[in-house]
């Protein structure tokens, strides 16, 4: 009898807790799901801001079919990869390196950390302006420094040459986002107990062995989080493209997000833009699902 009473008390407490969190839960679901449902509806319409009543004109999957046949969309995907893949690679390598350095105790560590995080804290618009000046072919300090080093006049068209402009965006992305990766990895590194390292040292492990057999495996899950966040960010890459190159020259820096923005807002094709967004969303969701399922497998192993 007592057990039954205890059980019913526990059930009612559980019910209460669900009741208490339900307003927040409902608001969260509404805030997340309603815009997505609305966007999905829009993606099935011919909605164009300049065409009256086009919001009501449902065309089924026509926008999706057009998107899959759209060469410029495919080019935008490739451009995003061209800019983002090297950026991600270097951000992980550099972020890891800096995190390892900053994980040690040394004089002025706080100051170095604060300085290193600065690029990440600068608003993208302000950063773009600064980089526009740095990359200026005639008056920019980068070409000037390169000329000084080479001892001859070097003029690189950082933002106007099709084979260079996308690399410039990669450089900016590395500069701005490496601190973010570094912070995530640093958080992972600082959570590793020093006992583990001391035990390894007692066992006579070399520095490389400690890194390979202790640091790397223990940091791997958080590294995965960093890669996931950055992948999502790269897919959303927009600011620098908008502020520096406007997707040019000749569309060579038109990233996926910028292309969607142009179609959906600049060209008023809201329905088509929504369809492009949904395709992107599916790809991102697939990546996240793969990541989560792998992490979970790793965790249970």
């Amino acid at each position: 009898m007592k057990l039954k009473k205890k059980k019913s008390k526990r059930t009612s407490a559980k019910k209460k807790s669900y009741l208490l969190i339900s307003p927040m839960g409902i608001v969260s679901i509404l805030l997340t799901c309603l815009p997505i449902i609305y966007s999905f509806y829009v993606s099935m319409t011919e909605y164009n801001l300049t065409i009256p009543n086009s919001f009501q004109s449902i065309i089924g999957l026509k926008n999706y079919v057009e998107a899959l046949q759209d060469k410029d969309f495919l080019n935008a995907v490739l451009t995003t990869l061209k800019i983002g893949a090297p950026a991600l690679f270097f951000e992980i390598i550099l972020g890891f390196g800096f995190a390892l350095i900053l994980n040690r105790k040394f004089k002025g560590r706080g100051l170095v950390l604060a300085l290193m995080v600065t690029p990440f804290m600068i608003a993208p618009g302000a950063a773009a302006l600064a980089w526009r000046l740095l990359f200026d072919s005639r008056y920019g300090p980068i070409n000037h420094i390169l000329s000084q080093i080479a001892g001859k006049n070097i003029v690189i068209d950082w933002l106007g040459a099709p084979n260079i402009a996308f690399k410039s965006l990669t450089i900016i992305d590395i500069w701005q986002t490496t601190p973010f990766v570094m912070l995530i990895i640093l958080a992972g590194l600082s959570s590793i107990s020093s006992d583990v390292y001391e035990a390894a040292k007692v066992d006579g492990a070399s520095r490389f062995q400690i890194f390979r057999d202790i640091t790397l495996p223990l940091v791997r899950p958080i590294l995965g989080v960093a890669v996931l966040f950055r992948t999502i960010d790269i897919i959303k890459m927009f600011d620098m493209c908008h502020a520096l190159t406007k997707g040019g020259p000749a569309g060579t820096t038109t990233t996926l997000s910028y292309y969607i923005y142009k179609q959906g807002l600049a060209y008023s094709r809201v329905g088509y833009g929504a369809a492009l967004s949904f395709i992107t969303l599916l790809v991102v969701s697939a990546l996240v699902a793969i990541y989560i399922s792998r992490t979970m497998k790793g965790g249970s192993a």
Partner: protein
């Protein structure tokens, strides 16, 4: 089960992140500010103005003084969304039948899209008792840039146009003159045709034409993606007798006129400063006012900056001329362009009370004396659009202090001739999409990725796709309405004779 819940929660989080990301970033550029009268305790009625850029907001604030705002009982609230975002924000609201803005500044090129959403100016001005001095507006700005289907829907605010600026020192230098004469067999002078322009640019390029010990460039233009390459191509295309479409809506951009225009552009690629394919207005202006290029084709404001001792190194050596013309079928054609420009309108969706107040605000900042003052002195470089502004003798003394007593008079003469002879922008639905499609292909040709003809053919194909999307008949009707106005203005397509 927990794994599934985690998976679903993570997916939902990621979905919300990706779905909302683009919009947030796009809105980063916008800003707001307000100007209100401080007299009296009566609550002010806010009049929200989408002014695109802070400079334009300052012009309006300056001329709508405190006393005026107090008397009217309004406060002005400004939003600045930038060129591209202001269009999409306004259209997003208009398409839903609402408007946050009581006054919108917009490009005449968007008039086709905005027409259904704006209040006709005439009846509203009458109702509000506002005198807009409509007879004092340059005909082209009145009948084409602010009028749609016979109804005036806006008032000009900034009358943009392209001019040719040149460094008078470079053109009057004896050594330069002698060398040019021996190389080209004619006198060195500001170019009158695009062919001459290319020659002069090539002559000056790599030459130390100002004898400062450093070789300079030939000319300055801006070909940044997103519209700039388009404007500089159009300046040539129109001069070569080109036209956007024929009566049946077939694009003419890939005609022989178009190829000639793009090939002329290609001739000067090496004569422009490095980075021109990524250069916008600022870089274009800087090359000229810093004395790195002896010529510059750009919006009129470059001339005023070039004569500002705080911003320019070439004061007072500034000359102005019409953008070059071209020899077409043995005849000289002088046909400049009037790119962009800004006009002010009142959305239909504003309340009746606010519409009248907004009209009084427009009346205040568009009066002939304020339009003249802004065109002459305001640092935002608002260009002339009223007939009386062109007739003012204040231009004759504008640059007297800087040591160029004749430049002001020359400037206003060139501006007037440019408006009289100039071709207006395309104004049909989807104009920006047509611009971007062509801009991208021009950029491909300028960066050596495509041949001129191939690039223009590809652009024409894309123009047909855009037309099809907006509806051939609807676009044809809108275009022919504009084309008729253009023809009435004495401008028509001139096909190259075989």
């Amino acid at each position: 089960m927990r794994k599934r819940i985690s998976l679903v929660l993570s997916l939902v989080m990621v979905m919300s992140l990706t779905a909302c990301g683009g919009t947030n970033t796009a809105e980063n550029g916008s800003a707001t500010s307000s100007a209100a009268g401080n007299g009296g305790s009566k609550e002010k009625i806010p009049i929200t103005i989408e002014a695109v850029a802070a400079g334009y907001g300052e012009v309006i604030s300056q001329y709508c003084d405190q006393d005026f705002l107090d008397d009217l009982g309004v406060e002005l609230v400004f939003t600045y969304s930038g060129t591209v975002d202001s269009y999409s924000k306004q259209m997003m609201e208009f398409s839903q039948g609402v408007s946050t803005y009581d006054i919108v500044l917009f490009e005449p090129a968007w008039l086709g899209d905005y027409a259904d959403h704006l209040e006709p100016i005439g009846p509203l001005a009458e109702k509000a008792g506002a005198d807009l001095a409509l007879d004092d507006i340059m005909e082209k700005y009145k009948s084409i840039y602010t009028t749609w289907k016979g109804e005036q829907l806006a008032i000009p605010f900034d009358g943009d146009q392209f001019n040719l600026f040149y460094n008078t020192q470079a053109f009057s230098d004896e050594e330069n003159k002698a060398d040019f004469q021996s190389e080209y067999g004619r006198e060195l002078a500001p170019p009158k045709t695009w062919d001459e322009y290319a020659e002069v640019a090539q002559f000056f390029n790599g030459r130390d034409w100002d004898h400062d010990g450093t070789p300079e460039y030939g000319t300055s233009e801006a070909w940044l993606s997103g519209g700039f390459a388009y404007w500089w191509y159009m300046a040539r295309f129109v001069a070569y007798g080109g036209m956007y479409f024929d009566e049946d809506m077939n694009p003419l951009i890939n005609s022989e006129n178009g190829v000639a225009a793009l090939e002329n552009m290609l001739k000067i690629v090496d004569a422009t400063p490095p980075g021109t394919t990524g250069a916008g207005y600022t870089e274009c202006e800087a090359a000229f006012v810093n004395g790195d290029a002896p010529m510059c084709i750009c919006w009129n404001s470059v001339g005023k900056t070039a004569m500002n001792p705080d911003a320019s190194q070439i004061v007072p050596n500034v000359g102005i001329a019409l953008v070059p013309g071209a020899e077409v079928n043995g005849e000289f054609v002088q046909r400049p362009t009037l790119p962009t420009g800004w006009v002010a309108g009142i959305p239909k969706y504003t309340s009746d009370e606010k519409k009248e107040l907004a009209m009084k605000v427009i009346e205040k900042f568009s009066q002939p004396d304020t339009a003249l003052d802004a065109a002459l002195y305001h640092p935002a470089c608002v260009d002339a659009w009223r007939t009386s502004t062109f007739e003012s003798d204040k231009w004759d003394t504008l640059f007297e202090e800087q040591g160029a007593p004749e430049l002001g008079g020359q400037m206003i003469k060139v501006m007037q001739e440019t408006i009289e002879k100039g071709l207006v922008d395309l104004q049909i639905s989807g104009t920006d999409e047509y611009i971007q499609a062509l801009d991208k292909e021009i950029s491909a040709a300028l960066t050596g990725q495509k041949e001129a003809k191939q690039a223009l053919d590809d652009a024409a194909k894309e123009w047909n796709n855009i037309t099809e999307r907006y509806g051939l008949e609807e676009q044809k009707e809108a275009w022919n309405m504009e084309y008729d106005s253009i023809k009435k203005d004495g401008i028509d397509y001139i096909p190259f004779e075989k």
